[in-house]
């Protein structure tokens, strides 16, 4: 946003948001995207190709898949490796920092399960079970 003219005292409170330098917002940011959690889940145990990801997530379109992968790549969460072959081959893998996100996700899952239990009594059937963390 532009430099909105605000008195300047309580501004401190949301300075972190305005400057986009709040680590919590950053964490939410990299995970916000309709397919990102699913993509990270797909990559939890190693590399996958563009087509594999597309097949694993049947209702995502190539255009959107590309977009989500690009964002994750720009955020440093995944790495893209393209091989100069015919036909083309591209593999995506989690980066180190990307892998370090998994425990954080597990922690969110735990809260979410408690939340479901208390809110609707309906259990959630997510993918992120303890299995994925070695």
């Amino acid at each position: 946003m532009k430099n909105d003219t605000i008195p300047g005292n309580q501004q401190e409170e949301n300075a972190a948001l305005e400057k986009n330098s709040c680590p919590v917002q950053a964490t939410i940011g990299v995970l916000s995207g309709k397919w990102k959690l699913l993509l990270l889940f797909q990559l939890r145990n190693g590399e996958k190709r563009f087509g594999e990801l597309g097949r694993a997530l049947p209702s995502i379109t190539p255009a959107v898949l590309t977009g989500q992968l690009r964002e994750l790549e720009e955020d440093g969460i995944i790495q893209r490796k393209a091989y100069a072959e015919i036909p083309p081959r591209v593999e995506y893998t989690l980066t180190e920092i990307g892998r370090s996100l998994l425990p954080v996700i597990i922690n969110m899952e735990k809260w979410g399960l408690e939340y479901f239990k208390q809110m609707k009594g309906a259990a959630g059937d997510c993918l992120w079970d303890d299995q994925i963390i070695g």
Copy 2:
């Protein structure tokens, strides 16, 4: 979404997303909203009134503030108490489950700080320090 006709085998993978029953998505969901983190931070140590919240977040408009508070309330994260007085008074507080979100947020902050350190070398100056957790 509608019941898109998908073969039905790999569909399991994103069933959690489609059904919106993934606890991780739920956690991200309740926190996704431009001002929600800031509002939760404002309420971390007890109740606050509508006007107080507005003054603490100078660039939010009443309409949007109402919207964000309504969503948090519907999600069971905060509670709204209106007093039948003139002039009106309304107080917002975290619910029990809402308070239980704070440690999760702290955990996200920790990852975010590591992320900043590794990505840009720029430290984040967020609000969610260890102070807020008793």
